[in-house]
């Protein structure tokens, strides 16, 4: 995002949007196809963290799980139950993909909370492909599973006949707007929260308000820890809801 260049001005010398700039880690600052940037670094770190938690920590398969293994088991059980509750037994076939989505998003969000870290999920370039993959996958799955009767989802038979064309239009619009809200929600809340922390950090330059700045940063940081988890949860639960619509379009 080229926000930082354009948003200068205002009273702050400190630029709250600078943390979202994609910068190459070596070389003369030109980003090319295979330049290793901070975005690439923190995305790989998120994948590494998922691997460490889900593969390495559980490789011993202890009967009495240690700390790391119980976190991994808890995450697995949590997502498994969510998929089963929302999509039914049938949806469990798609559990691996949903688990992958959740773990990647939650790890990218949490690693982005580290000081000087970069949050991959604060960029539309990361969240839009994630949401589009879900949208396209679910649409294709709906047509494969139900054939043309998948279109019945837009034709609400429980409504009076005169209302149905208008409802079909609304349903159609809300269907195609799904990937937009799905991706912008995640990127927007990550970006907004981190920018607010930096804005409070900017206040710390004034000695009179600096204690409040420290308090504000602490409070926002606590909220951000919560938001990081909740946004990953919401992304996953909406994926489950969309999947349910594709598997059972008639209610």
């Amino acid at each position: 995002m080229e926000t930082a260049e354009q948003s200068d001005g205002g009273g702050l010398v400190f630029k709250p949007m600078d943390q979202f700039l994609v910068k190459p880690l070596s070389g003369d600052g030109i980003v090319q196809w295979f330049t290793f940037t901070n975005a690439a670094l923190w995305t790989s770190l998120a994948v590494l963290a998922v691997f460490l938690l889900l593969v390495t920590a559980t490789s011993k398969r202890a009967i009495i799980p240690g700390r790391a293994q119980s976190i991994a088991e808890f995450a697995y059980g949590f997502i498994h139950k969510m998929v089963e509750d929302i999509c039914g037994k049938e949806g469990l076939r798609y559990f691996p993909y949903i688990m992958t989505l959740f773990m990647f998003i939650v790890m990218a969000n949490f690693l982005g909370l580290n000081p000087t870290a970069f949050t991959p999920t604060s960029h539309f370039a990361v969240t839009v492909p994630l949401a589009l993959a879900v949208f396209l996958g679910v649409t294709i799955l709906g047509f494969v599973k139900n054939g043309a009767s998948f279109l019945g989802m837009f034709w609400v038979t429980s409504a009076p006949l005169a209302l149905r064309p208008a409802l079909a239009l609304i349903e159609l619009i809300s269907y195609f707007v799904r990937p937009v809200s799905h991706s912008v929600r995640l990127a927007g809340s990550m970006m907004a929260g981190h920018a607010v922390i930096k804005v409070f950090a900017g206040f710390a330059a004034l000695a009179a308000v600096s204690p409040f700045a420290v308090l504000g940063i602490t409070a926002m940081y606590g909220l951000e820890v919560l938001v990081c988890f909740i946004q990953a949860y919401v992304f996953t639960i909406l994926t489950c809801v969309y999947l349910k619509d594709a598997l059972h379009p008639h209610h």
């Binding site: 354009q6 912008v184 919401v234 809801v241």
Partner: protein, 74 residues
């Protein structure tokens, strides 16, 4: 001048996110009201709570998106 008008428009569009916050608060408060009346049913409805919050929030996100577009794309 046009750029400044776009910034004013972005500020007005950003009001929508605050209005969506009312909706989100409404969902959460109704959930809490229901959950305190019948705590045993509360745990099974948290997923519904988050789906409701997500849908209420989606409309706020659209106004946020409009604000972003006005700031950086117009």
């Amino acid at each position: 001048m046009e750029g400044q008008l776009a910034h004013i428009g972005a500020g007005i569009a950003a009001l929508g996110t605050g209005i969506a916050a009312i909706g989100v608060g409404n969902v959460a408060s109704s959930f809490l009201g229901g959950a305190l009346r019948n705590p045993s049913a509360a745990a099974s409805q948290t997923a519904t709570l988050f789906i409701g919050i997500a849908f209420a929030e989606a409309l706020g996100i659209f106004s946020f998106l409009v604000a972003l577009l006005l700031m950086f794309a117009v």
